[in-house]
């Protein structure tokens, strides 16, 4: 019973190098953002991709990252088979890890 309910954490998300590779493969079609129920601001894929990997995170992307509740609606529309949920997870991790470094000066 316990085993059945216990998820294998491995299958849930991707590692940082994998996420970087996926962002490289992203063709920027915006399908994931169009499908997103949590997106409340006009964020474009170029900004999101760039800030997911490195550098400061802008206020709007930060709000979006907090709003993301990992529903996975962004995964199936991707024409290339990438995992935006995993990328968002890494944004969340970046925000938690070093808040001072990533916040943009406002």
């Amino acid at each position: 019973m316990f085993k059945m309910l216990k998820p294998n954490p491995v299958i849930l998300h991707k590692t940082k190098p994998q996420v970087e590779l996926e962002i490289q493969a992203c063709i920027g079609c915006n399908e994931c953002l169009l499908a997103c129920p949590a997106l409340a601001e006009p964020i474009t894929i170029d900004v999101l991709n760039r800030e997911t990997i490195a550098g400061p995170i802008s206020a709007s992307v930060e709000r979006f990252t907090h709003a993301c509740y990992q529903c996975g609606a962004c995964v199936s529309p991707c024409p290339v088979g990438l995992h935006r949920d995993a990328m968002m997870m890494w944004l969340k991790v970046r925000l938690l890890k070093d808040p001072k470094e990533v916040h943009m000066e406002r």
Binding site: M4, V10, L12, Q18, N30, D46, Q70
Partner: protein
């Protein structure tokens, strides 16, 4: 007297400034994605050095594959940007708006339009490709309404014309033609699609897959003419009125869109003072060096050697262009070692019609030793090409896209697929779990001593035959040029491949050693960093700990297993504080399954 002397000095200075040569360490021709990716990568390695992109493209770098979304007005122009506006400035990459006319490879400068020159230390040619279009001799090829969709300008033109178009003809048998057909159908335009061969994407898809796609597009409303070519275009007062096929059929239309492929923009090679190897693309080795010293090529214009066929071919795809740009950037930044990661097998994932298509490696390989398995259940179609339990090609057409990059890495790394063959064939393959288990099996063997030296052979999977570690492109040695190119080239080029072969194994072993550390940041992209140790401790069969190891696991670790949250599972520990609090909460309760979690369990089971 003295004033006269001053004047003379001044004149010399003026003269000097007139012939002053702008110079940069890294000069990149073209601001497509390969060029910009190279510039950003080079900036990482050369923080303070001048980097210049020379381009005559009137807009910043855009996501060219997203242009099909732009064609159906799903995206605005601003949303097409590949990098946020101002990235070039933020990265201190200087963009020069000019057309490069010649390359002086001996003196290392490029000649620009308007009699300007620009010196370089290393030069990257990333000029991309241009559409083939209709042949010059075809009657009516220059009528208004005959167009190709390649650049942003073409798409702007296309969208302006839509209001006047009721019927259109699309020519070509590739993915781009299919996208164009779907875009026209979206706008309610009647589409005739002319395909020269019997099948769609004859070089990448087999008969069954091609039929699936064509049926899908037919259902969407297109009229498909296979084995049909265009013979001429009929016009009325300078504008398209119809197209004539080789079956002598006249199709009335107002728009003829040619999607017959692209060819590399290699004209610069003819204007290079040292002959550059060129054959359907600039020939480059695995590190993107051309046959001319200090000149690299990347993106659509570069032709790499296909390790299977031995032929040089271009890979006009987004992912290849980004990857090549980054390798070229690392090379120009003086980091050979970063350029050592091979590009791997060809990979193409896209949407054709309403279906997702993925081809990785060579699914159509029909050699004797290749075993082909196909499956067309569950509304999709999958074709596997297998050699000795190793996947060499994967083709999938269906409503969902599999984890495409992970499958590419299975092929690249040459993992055995014996255990997951059925899942791969049925299309419900969980790549991430599989790869992590591969790693844990390897670690288990290493612990039990079945593998003597960690990583000397990664479970028999590390050495993949046919990763494109290609020989350098041999420079064209003509008598006039031997002086210009010092002996360095040949000697260096000959010795290098051997070095690289020796180096491949140690790199793997290093990264493998790190596996024994539980929380590490950056091991191999697709197999590392996964908490196999914690997650699978209870499952003795598939796990990496031996029984006695499990018994010896301290109480601390035991607690931690309980409370790996579903959403933080394979992520590095954030801080001790978080874990502490999780421990507290985990004492009383087991994991509460949320809906999301349940679906994962279902999928997993």
């Amino acid at each position: 007297m003295s004033s006269r002397k001053d004047r003379a000095v001044a004149r010399v200075q003026v003269n000097h400034s007139e012939c002053y040569l702008d110079k940069a360490d890294v000069v990149i021709i073209g601001n497509g994605i390969a060029g910009l990716a190279a510039a950003i990568e080079a900036r990482r390695h050369l923080p303070g050095r001048p980097i210049v992109i020379i381009t005559d493209q009137p807009h910043p770098t855009i996501n060219t594959p997203a242009l099909k979304q732009f064609a159906i007005a799903k995206l605005t122009r601003e949303q097409l940007l590949a990098y946020p506006a101002g990235t070039e400035r933020a990265e201190r990459i200087h963009v020069v708006d000019a057309h490069v006319e010649e390359i002086e490879a001996q003196s290392k400068y490029v000649g620009l339009s308007g009699n300007r020159c620009f010196g370089y230390d290393s030069l990257l040619i990333a000029t991309g490709s241009s559409p083939v279009g209709l042949p010059e001799q075809m009657p009516g090829h220059s009528f208004d309404g005959v167009m190709t969709l390649h650049r942003l300008e073409d798409y702007l033109d296309f969208r302006r014309r839509l209001a006047e178009v009721r019927d259109a003809v699309v020519i070509g048998g590739g993915a781009h033609a299919c996208e164009t057909v779907m875009a026209l159908l979206y706008w309610g335009i009647r589409v005739h699609w002319l395909i020269r061969s019997k099948t769609f994407m004859a070089r990448m898809l087999d008969q069954v897959a091609s039929e699936m796609v064509l049926n899908n597009v037919r259902r969407a409303g297109a009229i498909i003419h296979t084995e049909t070519e265009i013979k001429g275009i009929v016009g009325r007062v300078g504008a398209v009125a119809g197209a004539i096929t080789n079956h002598n059929q006249l199709i009335p239309c107002q728009l003829v869109l040619t999607c017959t492929g692209t060819r590399p923009m290699g004209t610069l090679t003819q204007h290079c003072s040292v002959p550059m190897q060129y054959k359907n693309g600039i020939l480059v080795d695995g590190k993107l060096r051309t046959s001319v010293r200090d000149i690299y090529a990347a993106g659509d214009v570069a032709a790499l050697r296909n390790p299977h066929t031995g032929l040089y071919e271009t890979r006009a795809q987004w992912y290849a262009a980004v990857a090549q740009g980054r390798i070229a950037g690392a090379m120009m930044g003086g980091h050979d070692e970063l350029a050592r990661q091979p590009l791997g097998v060809p990979w193409h994932a896209t949407q054709v019609g309403e279906l997702s298509m993925l081809t990785v490696g060579e699914p159509l390989n029909e050699d004797n030793e290749v075993m082909i398995l196909t499956d067309s259940s569950q509304g999709g179609y999958r074709r596997l090409a297998i050699v000795d339990n190793r996947l060499v090609g994967y083709l999938s057409v269906g409503t969902t896209q599999p984890d495409s990059l992970a499958i590419k890495h299975i092929i690249d790394e040459g993992h055995s697929i014996r255990d997951v063959l059925n899942a791969l064939l049925k299309g419900n393959f969980d790549a991430r779990r599989y790869l992590s288990q591969q790693k844990s099996h390897a670690v288990k063997k290493w612990i039990t001593g079945q593998l003597l030296v960690p990583g000397s052979e990664l479970n028999g999977t590390a050495r993949t035959p046919g990763l494109p570690e290609t020989d350098p492109v041999v420079p064209v040695l003509t008598t006039s040029q031997t002086n210009a190119l010092p002996a360095k080239t040949s000697a260096e080029h000959v010795s290098r491949p051997l070095e690289e072969q020796l180096n491949t194994i140690p790199t793997i072993s290093n990264q493998f050693k790190e596996q024994s550390v539980i929380y590490e940041e950056e091991p191999s992209p697709f197999t590392g960093n996964l908490p196999v140790v914690f997650g699978q401790k209870r499952d003795i069969d598939g796990c990496l700990f031996l029984k006695e190891d499990v018994e010896n696991i301290p109480e601390e670790a035991e607690l931690f297993i309980e409370d790996i949250g579903p959403f933080s599972g394979n992520l590095p520990a954030i801080s001790d504080r978080v874990i502490e609090s999780q421990k507290q909460s985990a004492k009383g309760q087991t994991i509460r399954p949320t809906r999301k979690l349940l679906t994962y369990v279902e999928n997993g089971a």
